[in-house]
Amino acid sequence: MFALLIQELRKIWRPGVVVALIVAAIAYAVPYTQLEAGNLNAPGNIGNDDTVGLINEYGPVVNRESVAAMKADLPELRSALDAKIVADRQSKRFGVTDYDSFIKVRNDQSVASVGENSDDLTFAVDGTTDWDEYSERIADLPEFHAYESRAITVEDYERGTSKVDVTQRVAFALRMFPPRSGMSEAEENAYYAKLALPKTAAAQVDRLYAQRDNMGYLEKYTDAYETTMLMVFLMFVYSVVMSVVLTASLFVADRRRNMRQLQWSSRIGRRVTGVQLLAVGLSSLAVCVVMAAVFAGVWLPQVWPYLATPVFSTSVLPWFGGWNFAGYLLAVALLGTVMTVTFTLGVAWVTHWFDGLIRAMLVVVPLTALFLFCAIYAVLGEAFLMTNALSMHTGLPGCEVAVAVAMIAVVAAVWAVTLRRARRADLAR
């Protein structure tokens, strides 16, 4: 049986098709990856640099210990920053003497610039140096970033995440909105504080609330999450397309060439279909593993510092566990792999009814496009987060897993019926 499996795998992995798919992958994915990698890690990308700096110095988790360390470093960093500000010749002109006064003037300018009367602007352009140029210069100081990134992190942490905040987010994800609009913030807080959540959702609130002391950095630089997920979608699309292109012709070709007469009358008999199905599933799995390896080799180094940081933060709430980003990506990859392999087996079931490849493709191509759209929009998009579209619409936390299970159940059922019927089916033609 193993020897037959190898033979069926050889029929699937046709060298010409494999080479064509690899060339297509290189032609499309390499420029796209370079572009995204360039955007993420561009020189002077302050958001990324600051966040990576904090992770490298204080570890990947924002917790009591790391915040205490940050807090201890603040006075020294503040002195260094103040000294730099004073040393700038323009500071005196704008009445800036230290960080606090810089922030105050900047806020005043900001308020004035959005006011109706431009005369409110404290500093007019004098033809040589204006406020914008000065403030940008100060804000670009390494000392400014070193101090401010820590100060904001400490402030956010100390402000804390209240249980009402968490309840509000869970209730929002479950579509349990306040009964009427126009509530004041206090009234809304009171509503969520008294809200009776379903038992499982209440448990989620407790779990998330307990996690408030172990937050991650993804929220501080969301591009790290969003760009990585774009790359995940790219890999997913390619895994599905490659799996389908490789395997779709197996059953069609055997049917078109009347191979089933020889297969079914052979010693192994009608079990050959089961072996072919296994070959299809293994091929799709191999494609997913290769894609995951390419992703790990090419993309993960770009977001390496973020991998150990928890997914949880005040605005990014996962439905499950205390995942770090690497664990989260692994879970998404597993979900994507299960869906890809299952869909490929489903496509194999569809194609086994056809004896012409073109006719089969007329069904398979739209089916694949529809699947990719639904999978990315509803399942893999913000997968396992409370903002996932499917979870939001159904009010069922983590129903991405249920979708995968449902896919497995449907495909397993149709193949089980088909294989059972084939055991006694007549092969008249």
């Binding site: 020897a3 037959l4 009358s265 008999g269």
Partner: protein
């Protein structure tokens, strides 16, 4: 022994076989019938690709459907529309079939070489099958049916596409196998069977019309087959079987239930009946 007992089969609402009874022991069996008479259906029943609606087929008394793998390992099958992979070489294709048939791995390569030599395809062994002629592909089909040394060979129109030389070669192969195999050949080409069949089975009207040794079938027509001039007027009961060329002139080969006086002057001559005469008489319009 392979026995077909009261087998009936309907396909798409049409009765193809009804109450068919046959026995197969070692030797060559020719299923001789015109197209559409049920030869392929009977072969497919023997190959377990179809299951009987009525009756049973047994191998040494055991139902072949229940035997499953044990029975299928005994049969080699060449379908009428033999399927193959155009991008495979004969060697790779035979390796695939050997794997389907469960031939031990270390026996596959020598067995393939042996069979390719037998069907005179050794020098084509590594060419893609899409570049081979129809006759060569048919020979690959014969080789694949023999790959696992089956005891029962089911050959459906095995000589279709073969040239006369290849037909002779095929007959020699079958003749050599007949000693220790059951060989069932379905064909409508009488000459394929005339010299090698131990027994002829003629199917018609969904059942067995004739099942006997070729000599016995021919013997029953002895004294009833004549060659007559083309202008000869047929009498009641007489049937024209075919037209032939005799001494540069067209003549008729006829069946006559009653003796006709032979006459060299009138060109009327009694001849030895052949299988083709029996076939044409059985399936006359």
């Amino acid at each position: 022994m392979l026995t077909v007992e009261h087998v009936g089969k309907e396909l798409s609402g049409k009765l193809i076989l009804h109450d068919v009874n046959l026995e197969f022991e070692r030797g060559v069996y020719g299923l001789l019938a015109p197209n559409g008479a049920g030869k392929t259906t009977l072969i497919k029943l023997l190959a377990t690709l179809l299951t009987p609606d009525a009756g049973a087929i047994r191998w040494d008394g055991e139902d072949i459907v229940g035997m499953g793998e044990r029975y299928r390992s005994l049969i080699g099958y060449l379908p009428q529309d033999f399927g193959y992979y155009p991008n495979h070489s004969p060697r790779r294709f035979l390796k695939y079939i050997a794997t389907l048939q469960g031939v031990p791995r270390d026996e596959i390569a020598p067995r393939i070489d042996e069979l390719l030599a037998m069907v005179h395809l050794s020098d084509q062994a590594d060419r893609k099958m899409r570049t081979l002629s129809g006759g060569m592909i048919r020979r690959v089909g014969i080789a694949q049916a023999l790959i696992h040394r089956p005891r029962i060979l089911l050959l459906d129109e095995p000589t279709a596409g073969l040239d006369p030389k290849e037909r002779v070669r095929f007959r020699n192969i079958v003749h050599n196998l007949a000693a220790d195999h059951i060989v069932v050949i379905a064909t409508h080409i009488v000459s394929d069977l005339e010299t090698i069949a131990d027994r002829i089975v003629m199917l018609g009207d969904a059942t067995v019309r004739e099942a006997d040794e070729p000599a016995a079938i021919c013997e029953r027509l002895e004294g009833r087959i004549y060659e007559v001039p083309s202008g000869y007027v047929l009498h009641d009961g007489q049937l024209k079987l075919s037209e032939i060329q005799r001494g540069g002139e067209t003549a008729k080969r006829i069946y006559s239930p009653d003796p006709i006086p032979e006459s060299a002057d009138r060109g009327i001559e009694s001849v030895h009946p052949g299988l083709e005469d029996a076939f044409l008489l059985t399936y006359r319009d």
